[in-house]
Amino acid sequence: MFENITIGQYYPVNSFVHNLDPRIKILFTFVYIIMLFFVDNVWGYMAALIILMIMIAVSKIPLGYTLRGIRAILVIILITVCLNIFMTPGTVIWSWGFLHITIEGIRTAVMMAVRLVFLVVGTSLLTLTTAPIDLTDGLEFYLSHIPFIKKYSHELSMMMSIALRFIPTLMDETQKIMKAQKARGAQFETGSLIERAKAMVMILVPLFVSACRRADELATAMEARCYRGGTGRTRMKQLVIQRNDKLTCVFMVVMVIVLYGTRFLPDIFF
């Protein structure tokens, strides 16, 4: 049930990308996302694909693994595609009742689908190559530079790292509870929709109970180690920009120029 969610699942190998400064990786991902929205023709998507492939190759993560994230958003992609195909005004090539398919619609639908896939693969690459703790360190750095938020930057990033940390734990817990209820004869796969919704109760109640208990235990454990928020807190591992990080910045600038540049190329196919 949960095997196909890759968010927050660090893939432990030793690669160029894994060893980069998390701040650079976050910046890179952010720029990559923005640039995807600038891309508006086939050349741009091809360039974005090549860049994505380079990133995956350098990160040493198997291609199939990076694509797993798509399964989780498959429904969203399908809805987007349908909406775009049928809702975009333009040259009608096929119609049935109130449904019209236009050339423009197909074009936007394909572009949106590809864009969504690139977005998901690109961003899951960030979480796959960055351990959650590094990720929040990087986020804290950025948050501490935003006015109004910077006061709470440490608390926010601590909340995020705890949330990330608990995703796999709670998923394990859910599976355990499901199995325990199955062992008592519960059925989750059969029955009417209402019966199945009722069956969720026997998972959710124990899950909430255990989540609250875990939260309480964690809070006690943190207090026992004298945790009192971000003020005056120093780090054992300081983030330092290295040669590879600078190289990545150069690559990022090249990416921006290339992807933006494709806008000026003549579009083909459509």
């Binding site: 199995k179 209820q181 004869g185 519960a186 124990p206 109970v209």
Partner: protein, 285 residues
């Protein structure tokens, strides 16, 4: 209801970097009414193994035959029926409680068996009493207002109420105080003797297993290290230590005594037996 396990293997996360072979070609038979103690180091595959016995996990290869029926090559309905015959109490089973009252929670399993109201009530009463909880006092309480030990009992009762023919318990005494441990173990033993249920008890305590079980199954890194009577397993202290386990403490004492007094019996793993053996020896001298 005998259980035959043939070449059972299970690999977690196949074709990912987290691939991990938890069980490797396990073959063994558990006879009717046997009390089997399952021991192994953390990560030896104990929990994976027991989840195959009622079909919660599907094996990578191999079969499990319960009561003459292959539980993996069965129709969905038969699979479900088989699961109800083999009761499985997970580790920290109190985390599965979800109903408003103790009665409703214990009745959840029997209800899935489509029994009559009276039968369900009788079974709940029986199950609660088997784990030492008074039916009248506890039936209307919320399971969440009970103590940890009581919650554990309610959860165990929830499986007992289904009257499974095979009962599997995964470390039912973990995290309990010594008195709670002894009580629960005694209740399991009583239940076994009263109903003749086949029992598989996962435990870290050699003393408990030695005292209760007819046979000991030792798993090591997903393979069967030993499957024999306790006296034949526990004398092999060196082999047990090699795989990160140990024999009951009293067995070590008896082994040391044997070095001095060769006619003493070292195949002993409870204090009562040791006492008798030493007294016998002293009388003979």
């Amino acid at each position: 209801m005998p259980i035959e396990i043939k070449d059972l293997s299970h690999t977690y996360g196949k074709d990912t970097p987290f691939e991990y072979s938890a069980l490797k070609d396990i073959s063994l038979d558990i006879d009717d009414g046997e009390f089997v103690g399952l021991i192994g180091h953390t990560g030896s595959g104990k929990s994976t193994f027991i989840q195959h016995l009622n079909g919660l996990l599907n094996p990578t290869s191999g079969t499990v035959v319960v009561d003459g029926q292959d539980i993996f090559n069965a129709s969905k309905e038969d699979k479900y029926k088989n699961r109800l015959k083999v009761g499985l109490v997970f580790q920290y089973p109190e985390s599965q409680l979800f109903e408003e009252t103790v009665f409703k929670d214990v009745a959840f399993g029997p209800k899935n068996l489509n029994l009559s109201e009276e039968e369900i009530e009788a079974r709940v009463k029986d199950a609660l009493e088997s784990v030492g909880l008074d039916y009248q006092t506890y039936k209307d309480k919320s399971p969440f207002e009970l103590s940890g030990g009581q919650m554990r009992r309610v959860a165990i009762a929830g499986v007992l109420a289904m009257r499974p023919q095979v009962l599997i318990l995964d470390e039912p005494t973990a995290g309990l105080d010594p008195q709670g441990r002894n009580e629960i173990l005694r209740q399991i033993k009583d239940y076994h003797e009263k109903n003749g249920t086949t029992i598989v008890l996962v435990s870290h305590s050699m003393e408990d297993v030695g005292r209760l079980a007819d046979k000991v199954l030792v798993l090591n890194k997903g393979e069967v290290a030993f499957f024999d009577k306790p006296e034949n397993v526990f004398v092999q202290t060196e082999e047990l230590e090699k795989i990160g386990l140990a024999a009951p403490q009293i067995t070590y004492l008896m082994k040391e005594l044997k070095k001095k007094y060769p006619d003493i019996n070292e195949k002993i793993f409870t204090i009562e037996e040791a006492k008798e053996e030493i007294l016998r020896h002293v009388k003979n001298v």
